[in-house]
């Protein structure tokens, strides 16, 4: 049995001072239901992806708030898996559909992150790690460790890291919902402020507000994109317990599950939305997903093999880096964006990859036309 994506909507991502968490969620839900040609009362249950509304907004009862957007108050379940909350909520919805509990559900991911100070935001986001934050780490520092290990083991260069940011900002120019519509050069990225060696400001994804929603159904609908495979795996929360700093084993395991279920091979993937919270994260992802040979992702990106003229288009939306990263919304946005691309005929096979923390949680989905 396959899951059909009947409708989607992604709000604009960015620093949206005029829109509240409720405004964003309501817009995503209303438009996704409308795009599905359904009535709101056709939605049997809602799965809500969010990392930290309690901390960012003081909202501790988000599932009830979202259910309130519907006239019939459907059952609503909140799912949290740090930055992988969106992918995990889609996965949870799929389990409920395949169990036969529901036939048509909606998944919404939403996060409002810019109402707090940067210090508060840093503190809230650090909750996705474990003990490291007490010992001086930050998320850029953790990914800085991974970047330095990849550079040492595979000779990945500063210019190659920068090429990820340049590419994704270029892709975002064509995505109206993206937070940034500004192109950068390799020199600008490589010359931006150091945050945690070797990562610089333009290696990092931004703080964002935004929401995305998808309507999923087991009812067959002609022309609707399908989710044909998925995988989910975990690794240790802290980096020090890992056997390798140059791969995410959770991503590798989740990808293998998804490929096996969908009977798709990595070389068949035409579009991939991968979790590029930092430039090094995209390089790790395309290798762990089998899209690019291990150790060669930096050279492949610099050689433009992961853009529209290449072998696979990675982060056509602009990714987290340039489209934005409203944490709970990101995984849902990936699915929504890819479904829209498949509907327009841009590709036949697409992959979404959503990561929580520093690779402790990974969720992979395969979508087909």
């Amino acid at each position: 049995m396959h899951i059909h994506i009947l409708g989607t909507h992604t709000t604009h991502f960015g620093e949206l001072w005029n829109q509240s968490l409720s405004d964003l969620g309501r817009e995503a839900i209303t438009r996704a239901v409308t795009n599905s040609n359904l009535d709101p009362t056709d939605i049997e249950a809602v799965f809500v992806a969010n990392k930290a509304a309690a901390s960012f907004e003081g909202q501790h009862h988000l599932n009830a708030l979202v259910s309130d957007f519907f006239p019939h108050h459907p059952p609503a379940i909140r799912v949290e898996a740090a930055c992988a909350s969106g992918g995990m909520a889609v996965l949870t919805a799929e389990y409920a559909l395949l169990a036969g509990q529901y036939r048509t559900v909606l998944v919404v991911g939403l996060e409002k992150m810019t109402d707090t100070s940067s210090e508060e935001t840093t503190h809230i986001l650090s909750g996705a790690a474990h003990l490291e934050k007490e010992y001086g780490s930050t998320f850029p520092a953790l990914y800085g460790l991974l970047a330095s290990a990849h550079m040492r083991e595979y000779g990945t260069t500063r210019e190659q890291l920068s090429s990820v940011a340049v590419k994704n900002h270029s892709h975002a120019l064509h995505n109206p919902a993206a937070q940034f519509h500004k192109a950068f050069t390799l020199e600008q990225v490589s010359g931006s402020q150091l945050v945690a060696d070797p990562l610089r400001l333009l290696d990092c994804s931004p703080i964002s507000d935004g929401a995305a929603a998808v309507v999923l159904s087991t009812k067959s609908t002609k022309g609707a994109p399908r989710i044909t495979g998925w995988g989910h795996a975990q690794d240790s929360l802290d980096l020090a317990s890992r056997s390798s700093l140059t791969c995410f084993s959770a991503t590798q395991a989740a990808a293998q599950q998804a490929y096996k279920q969908s009977c798709i091979k990595p070389k068949q993937v035409e579009l991939a939305e991968v979790h590029d919270c930092f430039t090094i994260a995209e390089l790790l992802a395309v290798e762990d997903l089998g899209l690019i040979e291990k150790g060669k992702s930096g050279a492949a990106t610099l050689a433009q093999h992961t853009t529209h003229s290449g072998v696979v288009v990675v982060n056509p939306s602009g990714g987290l880096k340039a489209c934005g990263h409203p944490v709970g919304a990101t995984g849902v946005k990936q699915i929504a964006f890819l479904a829209e691309q498949l509907k327009t005929g841009a590709a036949k096979v697409a992959l979404a990859h959503n990561v929580g923390g520093c690779g402790a949680t990974a969720v992979v989905h395969i979508l087909e036309k």
């Binding site: 210090e119 840093t122 503190h123 650090s126 003990l131 490291e132 934050k133 007490e134 010992y135 001086g136 780490s137 930050t138 850029p140 520092a141 800085g144 460790l145 991974l146 970047a147 330095s148 290990a149 040492r152 402020q193 150091l194 945050v195 945690a196 060696d197 070797p198 990562l199 802290d238 980096l239 020090a240 317990s241 700093l245």
Partner: protein, 95 residues
């Protein structure tokens, strides 16, 4: 941090102090959490010691490269209000 949490997080100090290890990954943090911003730039390391690895901060102003031999020492971690425990923790210093 609340006192019971602080005690739980740091109850293995004694086992680490004066042990040595080898740096397996290193970064220099330039932008830190507010309570640690006065220490920037500081090194953040993964150190292999025996069969395990730990993550820790490098001692003040020291720079490290992968392969450096280090020893774990007790150092002040950051500033805390009077109502909270003194923020001491394990850092690494070059042997």
């Amino acid at each position: 941090m609340r006192s019971p949490m602080y005690k739980r997080y740091n109850q293995h100090w004694a086992q680490l102090l004066q042990k040595t290890g080898v740096v397996t990954a290193v970064t220099t943090v330039r932008v830190a959490a507010p309570e640690l911003s006065h220490l920037t730039p500081y090194s953040y390391l993964i150190v292999k010691t025996g069969d395990s690895q730990i993550e820790c901060m490098g001692a003040a102003q020291e720079t490290f490269v992968i392969g450096d031999l280090v020893r774990f020492v007790l150092r002040k971690m950051g500033e805390t209000p009077d109502s909270e425990p003194l923020a001491y923790g394990v850092k690494a210093t070059k042997v």
